[in-house]
């Protein structure tokens, strides 16, 4: 049994944690939060220089050609640091969409720039409230032109291009389109979300120049496969958040005194933190399963991804909420950093589909694995 990261991967974790301690201190997160900016451009540049954006991109396209195990190590550390950068949009979604569906020309055009961080990509599915389906899509891609509106689009203000799920009259009812966002027929406006440290946009396409990504009428299944892969990486970020929130709660409870003793000595607090630890540990172990499935191209990926994602949503949202609670009134202030986890955990938990969405996917995958 070798269900663990390698020594090299642990070394990468150490390096990543040190780098982020130096370059993504809480003051950096706060800088974006206070200004309600879109991201920290300086941090993004440095992260790209570290090579993290190029982790799994093959060497022939300017990447490092490493495995997903390296990438999830980085993802966890970015989660811990609540990094205000478009990493998930550009790396877990846009890069993956091109790797899986792109033509050679598209790969040659975009992957080297994604690897270097020179361009930022994003991915847009949602067009409003509620669970998306191929039938509910209104965005259309016809004769090279894209029309419709996507809302919200994570990192939509700063992205150079987006992968768009559009309606199709053939196949599974959807197609993926790749659209450059710096053109006149694309109208972007900022959308305020609960996480002020990550910009989101509403994007309207008025006959924008675009090109198909993958085959027409295979967009829905391509999207689902993309989501499964992204879910594993999101889950690792979320587990990073969950553990960091638990540590913050623990440290505060140890130092905060009430009725003459540390509040960490009260069972009401101890059991709360123990419960966070249990949820985090189960979520982490399921993330291992997800990472293994992603990295080995396993047929269990659907089940593993949903399991990792549901566990990570629950652990991170719980840890973020109970971290605020453990801090009492101070946790509710702007001044304290508890809000970082509280905002980011919830943002990530709906960004690629909610808990309920993934619970349903999990049982569907479970049913399929029983048939197989």
């Amino acid at each position: 049994m070798n269900f663990e990261f390698s020594e090299e991967q642990e070394l990468l974790r150490e390096q990543a944690r040190g780098f982020l301690a130096d370059n993504c201190a809480p003051s950096v997160v706060r800088g974006v939060l206070d200004s309600q900016g879109d991201y920290d451009a300086d941090l993004w540049k440095k992260v790209a220089e570290m090579g993290w954006t190029s982790t799994v991109i093959p060497e022939e396209f300017g990447g490092l050609g490493l495995s997903y195990l390296e990438l999830v190590v980085v993802a966890e550390e970015l989660g811990r640091a609540v990094a205000p950068i478009p990493f998930s949009s550009s790396v877990y979604l846009a890069t993956e969409a091109i790797l899986a569906n792109g033509s050679v020309e598209q790969k040659e055009k975009w992957l080297p720039k994604l690897a270097s961080g020179e361009v930022v990509g994003t991915f847009a599915l949602a067009e409003g409230s509620g669970r998306p389906s191929a039938e509910s899509l209104n965005t259309r891609f016809e004769a090279g032109k894209l029309t419709g509106k996507k809302l919200p689009v994570p990192d939509g203000n700063i992205a150079d291009f987006a992968v768009i799920v559009t309606k199709s009259d053939t196949g599974d009812g959807a197609s993926l389109a790749l659209v450059e966002l710096n053109q006149e027929a694309v109208i972007r406006s900022s959308v305020r979300t609960l996480d002020f440290s990550r910009g989101h946009a509403s994007i309207e396409f008025k006959g924008a120049e675009a090109e198909i990504l993958g085959a027409d009428g295979s967009g829905w299944s391509a999207m689902e496969s993309l989501m499964d892969r992204a879910a594993v990486m999101f889950a690792w970020e979320q587990v990073g958040i969950a553990d960091a929130a638990l540590e913050q709660a623990r440290d505060y409870a140890m130092g905060r005194y009430a009725f003459g003793r540390a509040i960490a000595s009260y069972q009401a607090i101890k059991h709360k933190l123990a419960d966070m630890y249990v949820k985090n540990t189960l979520a982490r172990s399921n993330c291992y399963y997800g990472a293994w499935a992603l990295n080995s191209d396993s047929s269990e990926l659907g089940l593993a991804a949903a399991t990792a994602r549901v566990g990570a949503i629950q652990a991170s949202v719980n840890a973020a909420q109970e971290n605020v609670q453990t801090h009492g009134g101070m946790g509710f202030t702007w001044e304290f950093d508890c809000q970082f986890f509280y905002r980011r955990a919830k943002l990530l938990s709906v960004n690629i589909g909610s808990e309920g969405f993934w619970q349903d996917k999990l049982i569907t995958a479970y049913e399929q694995s029983n048939v197989a």
């Binding site: 049994m1 070798n2 269900f3 663990e4 990261f5 390698s6 195990l69 623990r250 409870a253 140890m254 003793r261 540390a262 960490a264 000595s265 009260y266 069972q267 607090i269 101890k270 059991h271 933190l273 123990a274 419960d275 630890y277 249990v278 540990t281 189960l282 979520a283 172990s285 399921n286 291992y288 399963y289 990472a291 293994w292 990295n295 080995s296 949903a306 399991t307 549901v310 566990g311 629950q314 309920g356 993934w358 619970q359 349903d360 999990l362 049982i363 479970y366 049913e367």
Partner: protein
């Protein structure tokens, strides 16, 4: 990262699987035997072939196997429906305590018979006045010549009625602080003055006992550790209890709950199509899967020759309440029929109802949910203990809730 055995592990697994295939008893082999006879039959067979208590030294009946080999053996053995359980306390808890605190003559006399299943041991720790607060126990031992005279009462003793020996913690000095006045012994359960009364549980069954001691004589040579060192010795036992209980649960799992859900209807569709049902099943799947892969991480640590981290301690804390919730949920799925507990009339021959009734015991035995949460809070997260009213106080002065 993979799930594959190393070459040595794979070879060991094959050896174990081959032996089990050739030797695991069938239902017919065990026909006419009661639970104890069947368990002893299988244990002896393993012992004779060197597959009993495999991590123990050869001289005590084991084969000096590594921890990872032990996990592999358990995985392979659990593929067969062989009698298990009655030796768990003796082999899993008494034996490690004997190994750590006993004399060489204790090892020679008792360990091989523990391994072979010839002798069964029970654990005499809990008392009416001391469960979670074990050190509050009141059964006393007074020295008389080379013997100790025991008076008092133990409770929740699994298998006392069929055990040959018991491990026992008693108070030898009531005038010092509670943890300092304890000593640890083992005794012959057939000793004069030992009286065993079964406790009828809320399930209707009786797996536990009260054990009364009236002037029971134990030779001083059956003491483990120094006089007054009983708490430390008991900790050795308890650490192994948690290792032995581990996974916690059994009973109702997602596969069973899904099967039941697929057999009942909600609004004209099978319950498996109901989104609320699916969400609950998904949550339990996440827990089951999380425990499974946490176990794999622990196995990896063992495989590399290191000790697993404390993450392994969550098995019982998650597994026991989950079992209760799932049993309750499965009964809800059956609606009015959920109340029926009958081998003929109930789905799955009443397994769900049995699990529901048994699950409160799982949440209490071997450390309650609350004690397990304290252990995680203190040993894993490093949080301080709650202040104790009886700290440093002579045991005789410790307040009690009345009665004694």
């Amino acid at each position: 990262m993979d799930f594959a055995d190393t070459q040595e592990e794979a070879a060991f697994r094959q050896e174990a699987a081959d032996w089990l295939k050739a030797n695991a008893p069938s239902k017919q082999d065990l026909e006419g035997m009661d639970e104890i006879e069947a368990a002893k039959f299988w244990q002896k067979k393993k012992y004779d072939a060197g597959w009993a208590c495999i991590t123990w030294n050869k001289e005590f009946g084991g084969r000096g196997a590594t921890a990872i080999q032990s996990v592999i053996w358990n995985q392979e053995e659990s593929k067969y429906d062989v009698p298990q359980g009655v030796f768990q306390i003796g082999q899993g808890m008494a034996a490690p305590t004997l190994m750590t605190w006993g004399q060489p003559e204790h090892h020679e006399r008792y360990l091989p018979k523990l391994a072979s299943g010839e002798e069964i041991w029970c654990q005499l720790f809990s008392e009416p006045a001391g469960g979670s607060d074990l050190a509050a126990l009141r059964t006393k031992a007074e020295k008389e010549g080379d013997d100790w005279i025991i008076n008092g009462q133990k409770i929740w003793t699994s298998g006392a009625h069929y055990s040959d020996y018991g491990i026992l913690v008693v108070r030898t000095d009531p005038n010092v602080a509670k943890h300092k006045g304890l000593s640890y012994f083992f005794l012959d359960m057939k000793s004069p003055g030992v009286e065993i009364k079964p406790i009828k549980q809320l399930t209707g069954g009786a797996g536990f006992n009260e054990v009364y001691f009236t002037d029971v004589r134990i030779p001083d040579s059956q003491r483990l550790g120094e006089v007054g060192q009983g708490w430390q010795v008991a900790l050795t036992t308890l650490m192994n209890e948690r290792a032995a209980i581990g996974g916690g649960g059994g009973g109702v799992n997602v596969d069973l709950a899904y099967k039941i859900a697929s057999e009942v209807m909600i609004d004209g569709k099978t319950a498996t199509q109901d989104s609320a049902v699916r969400a609950k099943l998904a949550n339990w799947y996440v827990q089951e899967s999380g425990l499974k892969f946490t176990g794999y991480r622990s196995m990896t640590a063992l495989s590399k020759g290191t000790t697993p981290g404390p993450e392994n301690s969550i098995g019982k804390l998650v597994g026991a309440p989950k079992n209760q919730e799932m049993a309750s949920f499965c009964m809800d799925l059956m609606e009015m029929n959920g109340a029926i507990w009958d081998e003929e009339l109930s789905k799955e021959a009443g397994l769900v109802q049995m699990s529901y009734m048994g699950s409160p015991g799982l949440r209490i035995a071997g450390g309650t949910d609350e004690i397990m949460a304290n252990i995680i809070a203190e040993r894993v997260l490093g949080l301080p203990q709650e202040p104790r009213m009886d700290k440093g106080m002579p045991f005789t002065d410790v307040p009690t809730g009345g009665g004694s």
